[in-house]
């Protein structure tokens, strides 16, 4: 499709979208109004299950099945990206010799921020039911914070601290334990992902029943998945190069 044709198609699409959106906007509630029926119901349900963070209560208790699907999307996409990024038939992995020079200020900042981000990630996961945060947020902080080692130190240090096999296990265990908790709810209360654990006191660390447990499961999975994803992209950027440089280099199968 040539460029002018593409713009014409785009303009037609925008006009169609505008025709559909205009009546929709007219029926939206006024911005900042007090009419929020879902809010009223969700807050009542979260308080009934003694979960102080209502967003976590919705994600892991009221619509836990949706989050199970969301988590499966994450698992599938990490697996898909890992599959796409593995070294191809005509590529070799080459380890560059020597280390790049790093500014002392960068190294210092990295080494200071590494433990801080690890603690922050663990805190976000473990307090996901009482304060803002949760498994997804904490998992992302943990999985990406680990790569400060690469910024601050070297790739070798990162590889020592980041056993990829462990993360592959972690990803499977995180996803599996979410499903296992769902089946446990099914057996205990007759509904998949039912909140069957004692609820505890409102605002306490162990409150909300299954919410903190599901948070931990998701946290393990997202941290592992994020680390795997970043490790594949990093390896791709640093080491992989086409063998012989040719487009259809018929060559030896690489390791």
């Amino acid at each position: 499709m040539s460029r002018p044709v593409r713009y014409v198609v785009f303009c037609l699409g925008v006009v169609g979208l505008a025709i559909l959106l205009a009546p929709a906007v007219a029926h939206l509630p006024a911005f900042g109004s007090t009419f929020h029926p879902y809010r009223t119901l969700a807050v009542a349900a979260a308080v009934a299950h003694r979960t102080a963070n209502v967003v976590s209560a919705i994600n892991f208790d009221q619509r836990g099945l949706d989050t199970f699907g969301e988590e499966s999307i994450f698992l599938a996409s990490v697996a898909g990206a890992a599959l796409l990024l593995r070294p191809g038939e005509h590529e070799t992995e080459r380890r560059p010799l020597g280390h790049a020079r790093m500014l002392d200020a960068t190294r210092l900042l990295g080494y200071v921020l590494l433990p801080l981000s690890t603690i922050l990630g663990l805190d976000l996961i473990s307090h996901g039911n009482v304060t803002p945060g949760g498994g997804f947020q904490g998992g992302v902080v943990l999985g990406t914070g680990l790569h400060l080692l690469y910024v601050a130190g070297s790739y070798d240090a990162l590889e020592k601290m980041r056993p990829t096999t462990l993360f592959e296990w972690g990803e499977a265990i995180g996803a599996g334990s979410y499903g296992a908790l769902g089946v446990a709810g099914l057996l205990a209360s007759g509904a998949f992902l039912a909140n069957f654990v004692p609820l505890g006191h409102f605002g306490a660390l162990f409150s909300g029943g299954t919410v903190p447990l599901l948070n931990i499961a998701v946290g393990i999975e997202v941290a592992s998945g994020g680390a795997i994803l970043l490790s594949h992209f990093l390896r791709q950027a640093m080491f992989t190069e086409p063998a012989g440089g040719g487009r259809r280099a018929s060559g030896e199968r690489d390791e």
């Binding site: 460029r3 593409r6 713009y7 198609v9 785009f10 699409g13 925008v14 979208l17 959106l21 906007v25 939206l28 509630p29 006024a30 911005f31 900042g32 109004s33 007090t34 929020h36 879902y38 809010r39 009223t40 969700a42 807050v43 979260a46 308080v47 102080a52 963070n53 209502v54 967003v55 209560a57 919705i58 994600n59 619509r63 949706d66 989050t67 969301e70 999307i73 994450f74 996409s77 990490v78 898909g80 990206a81 796409l84 990024l85 191809g88 590529e91 009482v130 304060t131 803002p132 949760g134 992302v140 006191h201 409102f202 605002g203 994803l229 594949h232 992209f233 791709q236 086409p242 487009r247």
Partner: protein, 116 residues
């Protein structure tokens, strides 16, 4: 002025789509998709907003649960949205790398032929 926030949401969606339409680079197109998706975050949070309301986290036992909080449901949906956006971005970038390897180009205009 009341509908301005909804206008911002749809503007982000359309400007992101426009960026994809005029893109000369697949990575640029992936970033434009993220911009378009940011419109949905704005829309969701705008729908759930209430003037003079507190966040839907009651935290310590001191802060008593109240009904006057912004809508937590759309916040939970925004979280889902962000997770899906991140995974889609990762997959698309991985596919872009594969395309660059196979065709030595990331310009959509040069990727006309469908290869098996």
């Amino acid at each position: 002025m009341k509908g301005l926030i909804y206008f911002v949401a749809f503007f982000l969606l359309i400007i992101g789509a426009f960026g994809i339409a005029r893109s000369k680079d697949l990575v640029h197109a992936v970033v434009c998709l993220s911009v378009a998706q940011a419109g949905t975050y704005v829309l969701l949070l705008a729908v759930g907003y209430q003037h003079h309301a507190s966040p839907p986290v009651f935290g310590s036992p001191a802060s008593r649960p109240t009904r006057d909080v912004v809508d937590p449901l759309v916040q939970a949906m925004a979280l889902t949205d962000i997770v899906v956006s991140a995974t889609v971005t990762a997959l698309l970038l991985a596919i872009s790398i594969q395309i660059a390897k196979r065709n030595h180009s990331v310009d959509p205009d040069e990727l006309n032929a469908v290869e098996g």
